[in-house]
């Protein structure tokens, strides 16, 4: 991995070619190395530690999505101003007799004002005719100059809502981007927004949906009047984003509409007030639903959702609960409905790694309409609300 003496796209391309030639020569045992590319992944790091994490993820991603990774390390505040680049192959470990599959990575490290040039270099280095995905980890993806510069060429923007600095504000910005990414005029491409934080919720949604795959329990879904969502905050920072997205998802699926005054805040607890559609007629037909989102503190617990409980309190009581059973990746589900025997079950649900989340997002060929709906609904909750929770840390 040599740093190139000077950086232009032709030099880098030449270096890539040399890399593949070397790889072909040094691989002994007669097994060919297969270079495979299914997409361009542009990932931006703001420091070297983040760059390392991204490199590790890119290496893992080869298994499901062999790609050309363009790692842009953008450090405009640092000196001396310079651009460096290097190339490497990301190969999957293979067994005997199995050809090795490799993707490739071009890393570009820019410091000082020249950082502004990184976008043009990236444009020249995209592998032709393959989808272009921009991954912006970190707290402020929508303010990133790279996003503005590349908006016209990317097919997908991947962010992680769990990293965002200002949940209420950022939720609205995510929703706005999802509605209209602001692609320059003439751009035929529709940029799709993906959120790794949303992808991480899939097992929770799955386990919740499972309760209602049974005929006798399905009707209770229309009778819910209270939802309790507990999350483990990441360190000092309260980020109710997973809770808001789950709330948005439930509301979107079940046609719950936020009331005028949709949110109330008590300390670190958020209460959302919604109206659910009428079931039948009469004064009992119109019902309110309350969603409570609160941090739960188990010392040493991994951040993220910890408990999700759906309840019908009025009339026949029904209680559907998905909760962490331990910190080893087990989840307990239980359904307790008056007139039915309670059904409890333990299941496995290891929190997916970043690479797995990214792979799950890349597997989707089109927009995730459910994500859009959940996001738009969640953003409506926060209209007029100043950064829920952020001020009430520790």
């Amino acid at each position: 991995m040599n740093t190139l003496p000077f950086v232009d796209s032709a030099t880098i391309e030449g270096e890539l070619q040399r890399l593949w030639q070397e790889t072909a020569e040094t691989t002994t045992g007669g097994e060919a190395v297969t270079r495979a590319l299914t997409l361009n992944l542009i990932a931006r790091a703001t420091d070297l530690a983040m760059a390392e994490r991204i490199s590790a993820v890119a290496g893992e991603l080869v298994a499901s999505h062999p790609n050309r990774t363009l790692l842009a390390i953008c450090r405009p505040e640092e000196a001396p101003p310079r651009i460096e680049a290097w190339v490497q192959a990301n190969c999957l470990l293979s067994g005997p007799g199995v050809p090795q599959v490799c993707g490739e990575q071009i890393s570009i490290d820019a410091r000082g004002p020249v950082t502004a040039q990184i976008a043009s270099l990236i444009l020249a280095l995209l592998a032709p005719d393959l989808p272009v995905v921009l991954w912006l980890p970190g707290p402020a993806p929508f303010d990133d100059p790279l996003l503005t510069r590349l908006l016209g060429v990317i097919d997908r923007l991947i962010i992680d809502s769990r990293d965002l600095a200002d949940p209420a504000g950022d939720l609205r910005r995510m929703a706005a981007f999802d509605r209209d990414p602001g692609t320059p005029p003439g751009g035929a491409r529709r940029v799709t927004l993906s959120d790794l934080g949303w992808a991480a919720l899939t097992p929770w949604r799955e386990l919740t949906a499972q309760f209602f795959d049974t005929r006798p329990l399905l009707p209770h879904l229309r009778r819910l009047d209270q939802v309790e969502i507990g999350y483990v905050p990441a360190g000092e920072r309260l980020n109710p984003m997973p809770g808001l997205l789950i709330a948005g998802w439930l509301a979107a699926c079940l046609d719950w509409t936020p009331l005028e005054e949709a949110v109330s805040v008590e300390g670190a607890t958020l209460r959302l007030h919604l109206r659910r559609p009428a079931v039948g007629v009469g004064p009992r037909a119109i019902r309110l639903v309350t969603i409570i989102i609160a941090p739960v503190g188990a010392p040493g617990a991994a951040p993220g959702l910890a408990t999700l409980r759906l309840r019908a309190l009025d009339g026949v009581s029904a209680d559907f609960h998905v909760q962490r059973a331990d910190e080893q990746g087990h989840i307990l589900t239980s359904a307790e409905v008056a007139g039915h025997v309670p059904v409890r079950r333990l299941t496995r649900c290891v929190a997916p790694s970043l690479a797995e989340l990214l792979a799950a997002e890349l597997r989707l060929l089109s927009r995730d309409a459910m994500f859009s709906a959940a996001l738009q609904t969640a953003a409506r909750f926060t209209a007029g609300l100043e950064s829920p929770g952020t001020s009430t840390g520790a």
Partner: protein, 515 residues
């Protein structure tokens, strides 16, 4: 409502992409619960499904066999079986404990009516205790002789219909009949009790990802379909080779033979998927309609043609992978003068517009040098020889090979110039699932059990399909039975079948692929 195929649930939380469907809570009743298949395949598959959150809470298993076990012995036996056979390795204790709460053992004999009456009570009690809503899958993992009896008893005790709006389905293992007459008879008996829509005849080959991928490969890629016909294809070879002998299944195998054990089901499936026309939709009936059409289009086999279009073999002592192997006639449960074939090769023609004149060669055998299943499409050669330095017969035709196992993947062989020399050499372009998608494929039984619980019968064999395949192959069995006894054994264990098989394909100016 007492509908046999309940209307699908509209669960609003399932809207949108990426949430897998999970079946409604149900009870899987396994007949033959102390047998080999249950321990090796069925229960490990169910446990893995549960572990991956593909089964709902309340899901239950009832094992039916004669052995003097109770729930706790049965759970212990299955625990050991899953530990030994699961692709995910040993179980996690807490998960197993939760799964095992739903496992029960029902001791009875298949021919004992009282056993079924008690079974009905037991199932009702489980419905009440675990909220399984009357949904049942009966899985016949028993000796085939027992199928008719069990089905009749289920009918007599009203177990062919679910109480309270649930559904009831039945999975029947292979072999389904041993010739056309017995298959028809079994179908009649089964369909006297169950509706065809309740019946799932399993062929685990269809549960393999690569087999399903055959359809995706053919119909989702625009470049292959235009050349997938008689204008471009010279012939096809479908091979299912096993390196094992009959192991401890000699008694069963000696009454079956390779044609019944492999060709009638697995190879016929591969043939129909390779040759079928695009279905109008990817649903159970559209796909199976097209498969049946292929079987009906195959030139019927006249008794006098049998010897000409087939080759039979039986292995004698030899060695496979460096280990000595005894001959078939020395295996336990096998007659010392057995005439049962352990190898078959045959040639079939699909007489429709797409395939007229293109031979499909099928071969399958035991104690062959290695375990490999593949479909190879050999294309016609290039029309003229442009490259004078290379003799004609050195340019190999293009071959597209679809490997089913092991190491699933697709290779395309084509000719290329050797750099710097005037030589043309075949090179292969290789695509392997294992490396291109670094994700383990689920076991065939996992997929098929789940499909059945979800009510999707696309990957199961329909009544007319199983009968059409027996109608095609039964004349071969009859022709063989009427012909002179064979001079068996005629191949050494560890060889690629009898010499006659090579001569058989060489007569057409072709050769078997070296695998």
């Amino acid at each position: 409502m007492n509908d046999v195929v309940a209307t699908p649930l509209e669960n609003p939380l399932r809207a949108g992409l990426r949430l897998w469907r999970t079946p409604e809570p149900c009870i899987v009743v396994i007949f033959g619960a102390s047998g080999d298949l249950t321990s090796r395949k069925l229960v490990p598959a169910l446990y893995n499904l549960a572990r991956e959150r593909r089964l709902p809470g309340g899901f239950s298993v009832v094992g039916f066999a004669r052995r003097e076990w109770d729930d706790s012995t049965f759970r212990q036996v299955l625990l050991e079986a899953v530990n030994a056979n699961s692709r995910a390795g040993p179980v996690e204790e807490a998960l197993w404990a939760s799964f095992a709460e739903g496992i029960f053992y029902h001791r009875a004999s298949f021919d004992d009516p009282a056993g079924y009456a008690r079974l009905a009570e037991r199932l009702a009690a489980i419905d009440a205790a675990r909220d399984t809503g009357g949904n049942r899958v009966f899985y016949l993992a028993t000796p085939p002789e027992a199928y008719a009896e069990i089905v009749a008893q289920l009918g007599a005790h009203g177990l062919n219909r679910s109480p309270g709006g649930g559904w009831t389905r039945i999975i029947i293992e292979k072999p389904f009949g041993r010739d056309l007459e017995s298959a028809r008879d079994l179908n009649r008996r089964v369909l006297a009790v169950f509706d065809e829509r309740q019946v799932y005849r399993i062929d685990h080959y269809l549960g393999k990802e690569t087999v399903q991928n055959l359809l995706v490969f053919r119909f989702a890629n625009g470049i292959f379909e235009p050349i997938w016909n008689r204008r471009y294809v010279d012939h096809a070879q479908i091979t299912v080779a096993e390196s094992l002998g009959v192991e401890d299944r000699g008694g069963y195998y000696d009454r079956a033979g390779a044609l019944r054990d492999m060709i009638q089901n697995h190879l016929t499936q591969l043939l129909t998927l390779t040759a079928m026309e695009p279905p109008v939709a990817y649903d159970a009936d559209a796909v199976r309609d097209e498969k049946v059409k292929v079987l009906r289009a195959i030139r019927p086999i006249a008794p006098e043609d049998v010897e000409r279009i087939t080759v039979r073999g039986q292995y004698g002592p030899g060695s496979v992978s460096g280990r000595p192997v005894r001959g078939y006639r020395e295996e336990r449960g096998v007659a010392p003068d057995s005439q049962t074939e352990t190898y078959v090769a045959l040639k079939l023609f699909v007489e429709n517009w797409r395939w007229a004149g293109v031979p499909f060669y099928l071969r399958s055998g035991k104690a062959l040098p290695r375990r490999v299943s593949e479909i190879a499409i050999q294309f016609r050669g290039a029309p003229t020889l442009l490259f004078a330095d290379t003799p004609v017969n050195e340019i190999e035709p293009n071959v597209l090979a679809i490997r089913i196992q092991p190491d699933e993947g697709i290779t395309l062989k084509f000719s290329s110039k050797v750099p710097g020399q005037a030589q043309i050499r075949p090179v292969t372009m290789d695509f392997r699932y294992g490396t291109s998608f670094g994700v383990a494929s689920p076991e065939a039984y996992e997929r098929l059990l789940l499909d059945c619980m979800l009510g999707d019968s696309t990957l199961f064999t329909r009544r007319d399909e199983v009968e059409a395949s027996w109608a095609l192959l039964t004349p071969i069995l009859e022709g063989w039975a009427a012909g002179a006894p064979q001079d068996f054994p005629n191949y050494e264990a560890g060889a690629w079948g009898p010499a006659a098989a090579d001569a058989f394909i060489a007569r057409d100016g072709r050769a078997w692929r070296r695998l």
